[in-house]
């Protein structure tokens, strides 16, 4: 059962009106390998790992005590916020910084752009709990004599210690509000939470929103930090994370036979989406075109991905259909029309195997010739921010013609067994560079999203 869209194939994008074509004119990220676009890209090309013991809190006794943390981050290094974002939580700050850089690259002048036509669509995660007072209330409310919870005591202690701003800033839609205020975006404003698929879905739906005429420019992407006590706890209890405590830097090893779970990351990725008409009118530099978006649900199980990866395959097929790209066709260089699939590639046994099956079922005989690597091997899994950050790596791949490797991949699992670019980056410039990519993001509960990015050629 394949979820194909009935939309007519648009083999040639340039036949579409400029208002219905959506391009990216700016990108910014805050990642465990840095916040500058090129610096991070160069580190990814070198296969550097950002994974190290956790410093955000004392995780020394945790089964997983390491993660890919953002280091030395200060919003003040990006802009002077005049106190506007004083109460903003950590992931909101990441998003503000990423958006600042994206806006700068896009060269949007807020005086000459109608703020009502600029919207925000994020897959921002929830904020970090205000642990000290929250835990104090939880501890106080347990009556060990009666072995029961007393809500009245909880309320009393919570009202004393927990305060409005940190509580309200944890609401995930607050990030989009901060961005709207900072960048004067008064159009449609949405935040979605579809776990690990969220920011890919946000960018995809924001693209559709522009195509349907409801905005000219969308700030889209996501941010998240789950490197805190209960965030790490939740995934340890699910046994979803790697426990390679003796060698954290190699713990994230997508497609490797010895992979044993994902590694938590954190950060933000923001892209500026714009109708081609708007980008041309502003004389903006076009970085790439969002050629297709696919979104499906597995409708299978809360805890497992469908073993065939049919939901993921459906999302890829839908994105390819919309882009008018036939996955079984070859170009003049004898290469498939998609030159990179940016894998969801979490480094869990289940994901990497089923995702490989999904790629095989979409590309069929071409599957071995489609490079399919995972930058989570270096950045860790940025959860809700992962899709946006990974889409920006697709932008860079198209721009530079270089594909980042899957780091730590020393022995390819035969159950995966595709072209995973082990260890070293690949220069595609001798064979015509990179003109089209897919970026996969799959979330807990069976949410699958995929974006097809294409080099803009007019």
């Amino acid at each position: 059962m394949k979820a194909t869209t009935k939309t007519a194939m648009t083999a040639n994008k340039s036949q579409l009106p400029d208002l219905q074509r959506v391009v990216i004119t700016g990108a910014g990220w805050v990642t465990p390998l840095g916040a500058d676009l090129d610096t991070v890209w160069n580190r990814l090309i070198k296969g550097e790992s950002a994974v190290a013991p956790i410093t955000h809190f004392d995780a020394s006794t945790f089964a997983t005590n390491f993660a890919a943390e953002v280091k030395d981050f200060d919003l003040g290094d990006f802009f002077d916020d005049g106190g506007l974002h004083d109460t903003a939580g950590l992931s909101t700050r990441y998003a503000l910084a990423a958006c600042h850089n994206a806006f700068k690259q896009a060269g949007i002048d807020s005086n000459s752009t109608d703020p009502a036509r600029i919207g925000v669509y994020l897959g921002a995660g929830e904020g970090v709990l205000d642990y000290e007072p929250y835990m104090a209330a939880n501890v106080a409310a347990w009556d060990s004599d009666s072995r029961s919870f007393d809500p009245k005591t909880w309320a009393k202690v919570a009202y004393q210690g927990m305060t409005p701003a940190p509580e309200l800033e944890q609401e995930p839609q607050l990030t989009a509000l901060h961005l709207a205020k900072r960048f004067n975006a008064q159009g449609p404003n949405l935040n979605c939470m579809t776990a690990c698929a969220a920011s890919t879905q946000a960018i995809g739906e924001a693209t559709e929103l522009i195509r349907q005429g409801d905005a000219d420019i969308m700030i889209a992407g996501g941010c998240h930090s789950m490197i805190h006590t209960l965030g790490i706890t939740g995934f340890i209890r699910l046994t979803a994370m790697s426990t390679r405590r003796d060698d954290p830097a190699t713990a994230s090893r997508p497609f490797d036979v010895s992979r044993n779970g994902f590694v938590m990351g954190e950060g933000a990725g923001i892209v500026i989406l714009e109708s081609l008409a708007s980008a041309k009118a502003r004389g903006a530099t076009i970085l790439a075109e969002v050629a297709g978006f696919g979104s499906t649900a597995d409708a299978y199980r809360i805890t497992d991905i469908h073993p065939d990866g049919q939901g993921g395959a459906g999302a890829m097929q839908m994105a390819l259909d919309q882009a008018g790209i036939d996955p079984e066709q070859l170009d003049d260089n004898g290469k498939p029309l998609i030159q990179w699939v940016n894998a969801h590639g979490t480094s869990t046994q289940e994901n990497d195997k089923t995702e490989s099956n999904a790629v095989r079922s979409v590309f069929k005989d071409n599957a071995m010739d489609v490079p399919f690597s995972s930058v989570k091997s270096m950045l860790g899994h940025l959860i809700q921010a992962a899709g946006a950050v990974e889409l920006i790596t697709c932008l860079k791949a198209i721009e530079t013609g270089i594909l980042p490797p899957t780091a730590n991949l020393t022995e390819v699992d035969p159950n995966c067994g595709l072209d995973h670019i082990p260890g070293e980056a690949r220069d595609c410039n001798p064979t015509g560079g990179v003109s089209a990519t897919l970026s996969n993001s799959f979330g807990f509960g069976g949410q699958n999203d995929c974006i097809c990015l294409q080099r803009y050629t007019g």
Partner: protein, 444 residues
């Protein structure tokens, strides 16, 4: 937009209804149900009363799925029940239907699911019981003791293995897609009082762009838990009953009345089925209403106690959303026969909303009937616009204003249900974080 979208199923689950029929009857009777919170002792909170749902999720899922209800948080239960009510009301046959059911067998790949949802608070009692196993000599929670690398029964092992999965905000949508076998686009949109409206708009877009033929849509939320009550109190919106111990519950929440002392929470699942019109006609569905226009915007100045600025009584975001929705529907303000505003019951928020109606509808705003739900079932947050849309759809189908409609000028009110021609109804709302949305429903 040449693919027209209609509403073919309603799933209004709240303190006064568990079906389209019971919702309509309660609205016409002027019923309201705001009662002391029953699931825990809420007497330590400033507003311990709410609109509450009594339905039990076990009665609303296929037998084979009953085990999975153990990992459902309250919000998920509400979404699952409301989605079942909506799917049945639309005459859909899904993998969640009983063997004896008849109806239209959906095409999974062409059926989507967009749900407005909120953050789901971890069960406080469960958390409390677990964290006391990890305290230091002073009785303070300690992450070293919480880690279980070296210890067995203490610390985090006191949380069940699937603990996290219960509280992921996309779980309402995930359970609904799994139960009913919906494989099309699925999303979870966080927008508090605007959540369901933004979801209905996205479902409409998904159908218009031909990525699905029908969608389960709307929202569900319950903040009737310690953290939820605390946060919404901190948002400065809830009535404070501690300062008003003798007040009659009927006098607390009075939408668009300067004497109102604040809002009251409610829990609800406000789900609907929206469908491409020719698809609905081909299967002989009976649409309630057509979605003829929508608009959404963002306020830069929402009333939130975190920014050091004075919120103004006027804000153009909601009126812009209404104007966009009217323009998409190709209507003038006078064409709107009734409005379902949020009417949260907080005087300064109500003033902003009234001013937005005045600036988008002009003088028509003074006399158009307003129909408000908050004083009947509480502010049901992410579910609320789903409830409003259900009410609006029923009003268009029945050609009737339910009891207790009001108007801004106070020149006229409608204490009893009133038969009146209704062609177009406006639904509008704005959220805690300033997201605004408007929807125009039209008679078929």
């Amino acid at each position: 937009m040449n693919r027209s979208v209609v509403i073919t199923g309603l799933g209004p689950l709240c303190s006064i209804a568990d079906s389209a029929d019971s919702f309509w009857d309660s609205l016409c009777a002027g019923s309201s149900s705001i009662t002391p919170i029953e699931t825990f002792d809420a007497s330590g909170f400033s507003c311990p009363i709410a609109g509450q749902v009594t339905a039990k999720v076990r009665d609303w899922v296929p037998k084979s799925y009953r085990k999975a209800t153990k990992v459902m948080a309250r919000d998920t239960e509400l979404a699952v029940i409301a989605a079942k009510i909506a799917a049945d009301d639309a005459g859909l046959l899904t993998s969640g239907s009983d063997e004896s059911d008849t109806g239209f067998k959906i095409n999974p790949a062409r059926t989507g699911c967009q749900i407005g949802a909120g953050l789901i608070a971890a069960d406080t009692a469960e958390m409390s019981r677990a964290v006391v196993t990890a305290t230091d000599d002073k009785g303070t929670f300690n992450t070293q003791s919480w880690g279980t690398e070296d210890s067995g029964s203490s610390g985090m092992n006191n949380l069940p293995p699937l603990w996290l999965l219960k509280y992921l905000p996309n779980m309402p949508a995930c359970h609904v897609t799994i139960i009913h076998g919906l494989c099309g686009p699925s999303n979870t949109i966080m927008g508090a009082e605007a959540g369901a409206l933004l979801s209905i708009i996205e479902s409409t877009r998904v159908i218009q762009r031909d990525s699905a033929d029908l969608c389960l849509t709307g929202g569900a939320e319950s903040r009737l838990n310690p953290l939820g009550l605390l946060r919404w109190d901190y948002a400065g919106r809830l009535a404070n009953l501690k300062d008003n111990p003798d007040i009659d519950p009927a006098d607390i929440l009075k939408p668009f009345d300067p004497d109102s002392i604040g809002s009251i929470m409610g829990e609800a699942g406000g789900m609907l089925v929206v469908e491409e019109e020719s698809h609905a006609n081909a299967r002989n569905a009976r649409p309630y209403a057509r979605i003829s226009g929508f608009g959404s915007t963002q306020s830069l100045n929402p009333v939130l106690p975190i920014f050091n600025e004075e919120p103004s009584t006027t804000d153009d975001a909601l009126s812009r959303a209404v104007t966009i929705a009217l323009s998409k529907a190709n209507l003038n303000p006078e064409d709107i026969d009734a409005v379902l505003p949020l009417g949260i019951g907080h005087p300064s928020l109500d003033t902003r909303e009234a001013n937005a109606l005045r600036s988008s509808l002009g003088s028509h705003a003074e006399s158009v009937p307003l129909f408000i739900l908050t004083n009947r079932l509480g502010n049901t947050l992410s579910a609320h616009a789903g409830m409003m849309t259900s009410a609006g759809a029923l009003m268009l189908q029945k050609q009737m204003l339910p009891a207790n409609a009001i108007c801004l000028s106070n020149s006229q009110d409608y204490p009893k249900k009133t038969t009146t021609p209704l062609n177009h109804i406006l639904i509008c709302t704005s959220s805690l974080a300033g997201q605004c949305g408007a929807l125009v429903l039209s008679k078929i």
